[in-house]
C-alpha cells in the first residue's frame, strides 16, 4: 500500500500525529444571541478542579453556549451549591430563572482513575432529564465534558449533539510553515497531523471520521493524499499528470470526487478511495469545474463552474450528466455545501470585494447572508445540520466561527499565532 517513495516523503515531512501541541489555543467568544433559549444552571462538579487536569463544567457551559440553544446562568454568586439531585433547592433555582439544573461529582475510582457522575434535573418537575457515570483517567475531563454537553443537548432539544465531533483546518505560520490540525469542535485539544513547508489545502473528512483527504504541494504540485488519523499512514489518492485537488468523500466512503486536469482543463472525476483503479470523468465542459461536494444521500454532487462566465454553483447526478445551475444572484459564488437534510445550500459569495457566507433555502431559492464579515472562507455544516463552521479574517486576525443557521449566535474559536485556513467540520463518530 505504501511505496518506498511515499515512505520517503513521510521522512521528509514530520508527522506529528498524537502529539498534543497546544491544549487551549482557542477561546470561545459568543457574538449576538437569541431570546428563546433554554435557561440552564450548570453547577461546578464536586472536586472537579482537584481531580481533573482540565476544566469540566466550564467546557460544558462553553459547549451549551456556542450551540445558541441555551442560556447558561451564572452560578458564581450562589452559596451552598448542590452536587447531587437530593441537595438541589428547586424553588431557589426556579426563582433564578433556571429551567433545568445540572449537578455532579468527581470521585476517586482507584487505579489512578476517576468517576464523573452527573444528573440534569428539571427545575419545575424535579425529575431527572438525563444523567450518567464515566470512569476515566484524570486527563480526560474535556472528552467527558463534551459527552455530558451532548447528553444535555439531546435531552433538551431532542437532537443529537455535536460537541464530541472534531474539526480540521490548516494553520499557516509565516510563508513556509503549514500544519494540518485536528481539534475538538470547540478548538480544544488540537493536534498537528501533518507539517509541511509547502501549502496544504482542502482537507475533507471520510464519513467515518477515520481518514482525512487533503491537497499537499510537498512534491511541488497539488496532489491528493489520504491519511489514516489513528496511524498517521498516508498515500497519494490522486497523483495524475497536472494538478490534483478538491477531494470530497462519497457518503458511503468508497469514492472520492476530485478535480483533475488530464484534459487540459479542471474537471471533476471519481477515484476509488481505497486506491488503485482508473479515474472516471464526470464533467465535460470547456470551463472550469471544481469544488465538488456530495449530497448526504450520495445522489448528487454540487460544484463550481464558470461555464456561464463567472463562477457559479451547479448540481448534477453523482454519476455525471446534465448540470442544473443553483445560484443566480451575484457574479462570484463558490465553495458550496449542502446541509445534511439537503434543505440548505451554504456557499461563499463575493459582494463588492467582500466574501460572505450565504445560505440558500433549496425549496424556494431564497438567499440570506449568514456572515457579513468582509472576508470569509469555506463553510461546512455540523453533522446535525444545526451550525456552520467557516474561517474569517477580522482586523488582520484570522479566526474560525461556528454559527447557528440563522446567524443569531456566532461562537468565535480564536486561534493564536497564525492564519487559519480551509476548515471542515467532521462527522459523528459513534
Amino acid at each position: 500500500m505504501f511505496s518506498s517513495n511515499s515512505l520517503f516523503r513521510m521522512m521528509l515531512i514530520v508527522l506529528a500525529f498524537a502529539c498534543n501541541l497546544a491544549k487551549a489555543d482557542m477561546t470561545i467568544e459568543i457574538v449576538g444571541g437569541g431570546s428563546t433559549r433554554h435557561a440552564i444552571a450548570v453547577v461546578p462538579f464536586k472536586d472537579e478542579s482537584s481531580r481533573l487536569s482540565d476544566p469540566l463544567t466550564l467546557v460544558v457551559k462553553n459547549d451549551l453556549n456556542l450551540s445558541g440553544m441555551f442560556r447558561v446562568l451564572d452560578t458564581s454568586k450562589v452559596s451552598d451549591l448542590p452536587f447531587t439531585p437530593a441537595s438541589i433547592h428547586y424553588a431557589q433555582w426556579q426563582g433564578a430563572g433556571a429551567q433545568s439544573v445540572a449537578v455532579g461529582t468527581v470521585s476517586d475510582a482507584g487505579n489512578g482513575q476517576v468517576t464523573v457522575s452527573f444528573s440534569l434535573m428539571d427545575a419545575a418537575q424535579k425529575k431527572q432529564l438525563t444523567g450518567g457515570q464515566f470512569t476515566v483517567s484524570p486527563d480526560q475531563g474535556r472528552q467527558v465534558a463534551h459527552k455530558i454537553a451532548d447528553m444535555i443537548y439531546q435531552a433538551i432539544t431532542g437532537q443529537q449533539g455535536i460537541f464530541g465531533t472534531r474539526i480540521v483546518y490548516v494553520l499557516k505560520q509565516g510563508a513556509a510553515s503549514y500544519q494540518l490540525q485536528v481539534a475538538d469542535m470547540d478548538g480544544g485539544r488540537s493536534q498537528t497531523i501533518l507539517r509541511s513547508k509547502e501549502p496544504i489545502m482542502s482537507p475533507a473528512w471520510s464519513p467515518d471520521g477515520r481518514y482525512l483527504a487533503y491537497v499537499s504541494f510537498e512534491t511541488h504540485k497539488p496532489v491528493v493524499w489520504v491519511q489514516d488519523l489513528a496511524t498517521g499512514r498516508r498515500r497519494a489518492a490522486a497523483n495524475f499528470k497536472g494538478s490534483n485537488s478538491g477531494p470530497a468523500w462519497s457518503p458511503d466512503g468508497k469514492q472520492l470526487a476530485v478535480v483533475l486536469t488530464l484534459s487540459g482543463n479542471s474537471e471533476i472525476y471519481l477515484v476509488d478511495a481505497a486506491g488503485g483503479g482508473a479515474a472516471r470523468r464526470l464533467t465535460y465542459s470547456d470551463a472550469i469545474d471544481t469544488e465538488p461536494s456530495w449530497s448526504a444521500d450520495g445522489a448528487k454532487i454540487v460544484f463550481v463552474s464558470d461555464r456561464a462566465g463567472g463562477p457559479q454553483i451547479y448540481s448534477m447526478a453523482a454519476t455525471g450528466g446534465d448540470a442544473t445551475r443553483l445560484t443566480w444572484q451575484g457574479s462570484y459564488n463558490v465553495s458550496p455545501r449542502l446541509s445534511p437534510d439537503g434543505n440548505t445550500l451554504a456557499f461563499i459569495q463575493r459582494q463588492a470585494g467582500a466574501f460572505r457566507v450565504m445560505m440558500q433555502d433549496r425549496a424556494n431559492g431564497d438567499v440570506r447572508v449568514l456572515s457579513s464579515d468582509p472576508y470569509n472562507e469555506r463553510p461546512s455544516f455540523a453533522p446535525n445540520g444545526q451550525m456552520v463552521l467557516y474561517a474569517s479574517v477580522q482586523g488582520g486576525q484570522s479566526v474560525l466561527y461556528a454559527a447557528t443557521l440563522d446567524g443569531g449566535n456566532k461562537a468565535r474559536l480564536a486561534v493564536l499565532n497564525g492564519e487559519v485556513q480551509d476548515p471542515a467540520w467532521g462527522p459523528f463518530t459513534h
Binding site: A175, T261, I288, E291
Partner: protein, 175 residues
Amino acid sequence: MNWKQLLIGTAAASLLAACSSTKPPEAAAPAASQPAATSVAPVSSGEQNQTALDPLHDPNSPLAQRSVYFDFDSSVVKDEYKSLVGAHADFLKSSNGNSHKITIQGNTDARGSREYNLALGQRRAESVKKSMEVLGVPDKQLEAVSFGKEKPKATGTSDADYAQNRRADIVYDGQ
C-alpha cells in the same frame, strides 16, 4: 565522442548545481556565480563551451527568462511573451533540449476560493503549455500545474503586487 562526454559532464554538473540550490525557479542562474566550473576547467576555453552547450544556465540566454505575466482575469499569453515561449519551445525541440522536461506553474493574485483559484492558475499554465504544443513541443516534455493563490511571489496588496502574482513560471526538470 568528446563532445558527447562533455555534454554529459555538463548535464551532471548542472544537475548537481540544481540539487544544491533551494532557491525558487526564477533565481536559477547559477552559471553567473560559477564562471569557472572546475569540472570543465581542463578543457580549453571551457567557460565558453559551457555557455554554448548549457543555455539553461546562461543568464544572457533568452531561456533565462522563465516567467510569463498575465492581465487581470486573463489566461491569454500576451504578445510580449511570444518570443520567450518560442525560445523555450525551440530549446525543448532541439537535440540539446529534447531530453528535458518542463513544469509550467500557474499562479493567481485573487482572494476567494482556494480551489477556484487553483483552477484559474491551471488555466494560465495550460495556456502556456498549449502555446508550446502549437510550436511542436511533444506533450511528454510538458506538465501544467497550479499553485493557485497559495504561493504568491509578492505578498502585498497593491496592484503591482497582484500583477507579480498573475504569473506562470517555467521550471526545468523538477527543479
